[in-house]
Amino acid sequence: MSSAIEVRSLSRVFSGRKEIVALDDVDLTVEEGELFGLLGPNGAGKTTLIKILCTLLLPSSGTARVLGYDVDSEAKQIRKRINMVSGGEISGYGLLTIRENLWMFTQFYGVQGKVAKQRIDALLEEFGLEDKADVKLRTVSTGQRQKMNIIRGFSTDPDLIFLDEPTLGLDVTTSISIRNYLRRWVREREGRTMMLTTHYMREAEELCDRVAIIDRGRIVAVDTPAGLKRRVGNDSSFLIETTPIDTARLSSLTGVRGLTARPSNGHLKVRMVLEDESVIADVISAVVAAGGKVVGLSKNEPTLEDAFMHLVGRGLE
């Protein structure tokens, strides 16, 4: 199996009033046929990496090869074989119908007319847009525009597709159907590769063969979702439900690897990874000291979110 993506010592710095290091000495290899996930919080560098790989942005230093070609000097060869879709993408020509928009992009890639028509029809049906096919894009909803863009990405039948937060802002049912399609697309086509960025843990866990955790422009770990979860090792994952408190004191406790807190029904659900089970006693004491009242406590099997907290030291939020 050969590599679909090879990234070596890749850095990207955005200069301006304040210099921003978006990618810092990144090394990464994605094999052909993989469904590869990039998992990280907003601003971690996921989109910057995707933009470089799909030839929209140049790196500041280092090299990146896509399907064997250099992103800088051999962009033309790469462009024939890739496509990209960004989540929440509502691009398109509102004066054209959905079908016309899609057809035009297939023609940019030189897809034969008859093949393009069949493929577009099949994808419109797959994504439930067949009844909107001949409607002008400006008249459809944002969600339908997003679906059209996902279809645009697949309608050219690329060897490698980049999906940047593909289900961002979509409803649950649509997100599930898109995930199902993504899985099938990779499995049913030998050699097809997908790189997907997400900050939805569940999406990464469900879909990806391997996941790279990226934080502050650096790749922290690359492994299968199961492998990443195993890295939690002897750490313990707990979920505490408490009355609202300031969780800053909990984060600073010795033995707390990382935590995320989400409000829920007037309470606070605090998910945390602890170095040792015994640390939970200190956590409960701290909750009480902060004026909170513990209303629920459970120990969980480690999830990808726990692995993220274990590796990065904080949650995705």
Binding site: T55, L57, N83, I90, S91, Y93, F105, Q107, F108
Partner: protein
Amino acid sequence: MAVRDHLRTLRLAAWLGWQIESNWARPALFLLYSFIRPIATTLILVIMYLIIKQDVSSDPAFFSYVYLGATFYMFVSSVVFGITYVIHADREHYQTLRNIYISPVSLYVYIIGRATGKVALAALAVVISMAFGILVLGLPFDPMLVDWPLFAIAMLLGLACLVSLGLALAGISMLTAKHSTSINEGVGGLVYLLCGAVFPITVLPAWGQAIGLMIPVTYWLELIRRSLYPGEGIAMLGGLQDFGDLTILSFLLASTLVFAALSLAMFHLADRNARRKGKLDMITTY
């Protein structure tokens, strides 16, 4: 990339350009707009001319000089700034520039294709304006006396020059969103002032005339006037009376080739810089 691929890109982009140019309003409204706009544009200068000269017949050559210049200058404003606006519209309004950029098509060829819609609309506007001038204002015109081969060659070279200028500005537009309109307006104003669009370049100071003689649009407008005006008089007005038609044609050809080469280089440089600076998908809401 094969020529066939470029031709396909041209065809698709031209189709898209025409859809965008013509589909923004109902057909009747679009037709009405297409008629009123060019007439209104040229009437401003006609009224100014009539205030100064009282009637057309007192100096038909000078009236033709002003009218033809103003009419054909519509190509400049429409094609040059239309091309530049493709970058702005595709990047910020339709948000498709990044999708087109990462596709196998040549962005350069795509933009030229998109420009054909502008050229078609500008041509329609010029035809309407000419018809209005001939039928209503008494613009001297005799189809039997028109030098059609000279007109055709001048138009071809002129359009190539305008597309080149538009592409150079489109390149600059890739690097900036905030200032692209002011750059367009600045360049448009300068070309209008220096190329003898409505007054002979001889009224300009020496440095202005020198710049005017470096702009292909100057030669293009001169050849358009000479080829369309039924007589010799118009050649004496523009400040190029010492040069024959073929000499001016060779000036136009040479300056167009230089402009085209510069524009290509500028576009590629801007393309590279835009990719380096991450400007290709910026959305500024300007």
